[in-house]
């Protein structure tokens, strides 16, 4: 096989990070090649076009990043511990949380990606909904509260981007969450 220089996964991981930082406009082939210490022809060997490249990034994101959280929390013992863990993880500084933000903007021109995002959103909400159901909420309430929580989380990200999360602020946030659910 090849001389080991820049493999496909190197490109994709770098692309993922850059996309999370600046969106599509962050994906600049020549700059990336410099970071990877290789020539851009490597890029065009691995990927036919930029669009195809981004598609692969999205696949990577779905397969690793999005499923990551659920597997991590799902390993907890009982339901309310799972929920607690989930909240702990999601309401802390997540390095590439802007990825989905930019992806949504990018997806405007791309039906396929739009659908993937919708599915991811729906899965996340459904996961929390199920936890809540197991904790005793009615099906209806669980659904509403899961949606509330997810929207709240998104709002939380928007309002705390690149900010330090002070103890005090997090206490406020916890109060807000407690308004939605008792856990």
């Amino acid at each position: 096989m090849p001389k080991i220089v820049a493999e496909k996964k190197d490109w994709i991981q770098l692309g993922y990070r850059l996309f999370a930082e600046k969106g599509v406009s962050g994906i600049v082939v020549e700059k990336m090649s410099k970071k990877l210490n290789c020539n851009k022809s490597s890029f065009y060997w691995h990927f036919k076009t930029k669009k195809e490249f981004i598609n692969e990034i999205v696949i990577y994101w779905v397969n690793t990043k999005t499923k990551n959280i659920i597997t991590r929390t799902d390993s907890e013992e009982n339901t309310s511990q799972k929920l607690r863990k989930l909240i702990d993880i999601t309401y802390s500084k997540m390095p590439y949380s802007d990825f989905i933000f930019y992806l949504k903007r990018y997806a405007v021109k791309d039906e396929k990606i739009s659908k993937i995002i919708d599915k991811v959103d729906a899965e996340r909400i459904a996961y929390v909904g199920n936890l809540l159901k197991k904790m005793g909420y009615s099906s209806k309430d669980a659904k509403i509260k899961a949606s509330l929580l997810y929207k709240h989380l998104i709002g939380f990200y928007e309002l705390t981007r690149y900010k330090e999360l002070s103890e005090d602020y997090m206490i406020e946030v916890k109060k807000e969450i407690n308004q939605i659910i008792s856990y």
Copy 2:
């Protein structure tokens, strides 16, 4: 004075729209000049640099767009009507609602703009908090609920971008809101 061709405000309004659509990368002087049927030298006459231009857009946004909603709702008679109106307005398709999202990303490199955004966010939350207080909530509760509502709204935008808002979906959303406040 001048021959009337492309005035400062034309540039700013166009810039505002483009920024709301694509962020900084949407601000492309030569493209804008074509839309305005003028030469790009006009731009460089009105604005020293792109950055200065964006600063002016931000000022425009603060002075017109952000204050717009509050004045519109504040004209309602009583407090709960104001709140109702506010929710009606904000939870409907707003043409340039992505402006603040992109601005937040842009503001990472710009302390001044960051502070402006923080102030806008705080003012909005405080406005709702005051309404809720007048409606009988305790100061603490009003604060929490106002924050909840704002985060919920942001999440709502994120999840419904470029989607049709079906009757059914809006009923769900209203239920979520009702979980936070009764109004």
